[in-house]
Amino acid sequence: MKKTLEVLGMVCPFPLVEAKKVMEEMTSGDELVINFDCTQATESLPRWAAEAGHTVTNFEQLSEASWTITVKKK
């Protein structure tokens, strides 16, 4: 299952807080796509994913100050 979380306009740490919340309700192997525009989340989101043991399957910049990251739940 794939789920998309739009956190555009949200400042840190809310993209991460939201992502954690949604992730809790997902099952192993599910993918969560997070679209965000808070610069500091380019550091906090991949770090959280790595430390929690999830897999990052996609991480790229879409346009000026706009990014997407896909995290697969462990």
Binding site: P13, D37, T39, E64
Partner: protein, 355 residues
């Protein structure tokens, strides 16, 4: 005047650039100590303090830099720092953080900055100056830790540096987690400057060096201090409404430089865009900015002036302020991040839920 403009802007631009690229956010760092049990950014701050401390006291020893610690208005420092800590969580960034996020195009930070500048000016030369003065009256005469204890300041610095080295070694020895990165689109210098993720400890060393550089540059123009954000931010507004050139100093160009440097870094990294927050975030930013201005003015410094500079100078003001700023961010984080979560999970606990 031209020297003041040039070196102030340059030093500020360096700081803004480094903080933007290094994602050097003290608010996030203090908050994460509590909500994520992550001390990385706090350790980075300690590194920056250590670098600056060794450097500035060497320059003092050589007679290049002058510094007087002054008095220790402890009540103002404690209350002001705590309120400042609450404010930076609401504003989504400390004073410097707000300046550099404004340079990234975050309009919420522009709102916070406005509240911060107005409140600081009100505290320094406006109707709230009497509040400031009555708090300042509660003081002890000695601010320098070396003077209070009669121990050489170098003993304090040596002890602190040993602790910091210990922390860094322990942190770097920890098994590394591979942090996923974006596929590089650039090469060479452009990649290193505008794309690569900077290690927080590397950024911290640069911040410490810039904080050190600020001392001789600022003192050459007659302003006898290092990095400072709050008074200069108030000075900008004071100048704009009174036209009085006497309030213009090196610090004014420093803070304008932070904005400029961050803008350059963000623009070159494709990270600049005007971003408008929703109404709720905007109001929070405005309240946060006001609390930040009130607290930092009362405490005679923000997370930079007190937390980075006065700590490096080994003063009671710096360390007491740092502790209460952190306690303030934790208090605000409890109400904004922790309590809503625990309330929610308490509500769902009645329905059977598998983890």
């Amino acid at each position: 005047m031209s020297q003041m403009i040039l070196t102030g802007l340059l030093c500020g631009a360096l700081l803004g650039f480094v903080m933007q690229r290094g994602r050097f956010c003290l608010t996030g760092g203090f908050r994460d100590m509590y909500i994520a049990k992550d001390n990385r950014m706090f350790y980075a701050l300690l590194i920056a303090i250590a670098v600056q401390s060794i450097g500035v006291y060497t320059l003092i020893q050589l007679g290049i830099v002058e510094f007087s610690a002054g008095v220790f208005p402890w009540l103002a420092i404690i209350i002001g720092s705590f309120i400042f800590g609450i404010g930076i969580v609401l504003a989504g960034g400390c004073a410097t953080g707000t300046w550099y996020r404004a340079g990234e195009g975050l309009l919420g930070s522009w709102i916070a900055l406005f509240g911060y500048m107005v409140m600081s000016a009100m505290m320094k030369s406006g109707p709230l100056a009497s509040v400031y003065n009555s708090f300042q009256a509660v003081q002890t005469p000695i601010n320098s830790m070396a003077e209070t204890t009669g121990i050489s300041v170098w003993v304090f610095i040596a002890l602190f540096v040993v602790i910091v080295i210990g922390i860094v070694v322990r942190e770097l020895r920890k098994p590394k987690v591979m942090i996923p990165t974006m596929k590089p689109k650039r090469t060479g210098l452009a990649h290193l400057l505008f794309e690569k993720r900077w290690h927080p400890f590397f950024t911290a060393v640069l911040v410490g060096l810039i904080a050190l550089l600020a001392w001789p540059l600022s003192e050459a123009t007659g302003r006898m201090f290092g990095l400072g954000v709050t008074t200069p931010s108030a000075n900008i507004l004071q100048y704009l409404v009174t036209g009085d050139q006497a309030v213009i100093n090196w610090g004014v160009f420093l803070v304008l430089g932070i904005f400029l440097g961050s803008f350059i870094a963000a623009k070159a990294s494709n990270e600049f865009r005007f971003r408008m927050p929703d109404a709720k975030t905007s109001i929070k930013s405005f309240i946060g900015g006001n609390l930040m201005g009130f607290g930092a003015s009362l405490a005679g410094g923000c997370s930079i002036g007190n937390g980075l500079v006065m700590t490096a100078m080994m003063t009671w003001q710096g360390w007491v302020s740092l502790v209460f700023i952190i306690l303030g961010t934790w208090t605000a984080s409890y109400f904004i991040f922790v309590r809503p979560q625990t309330k929610k999970s308490a509500a769902t606990a009645t329905t059977v839920k598998t983890a």
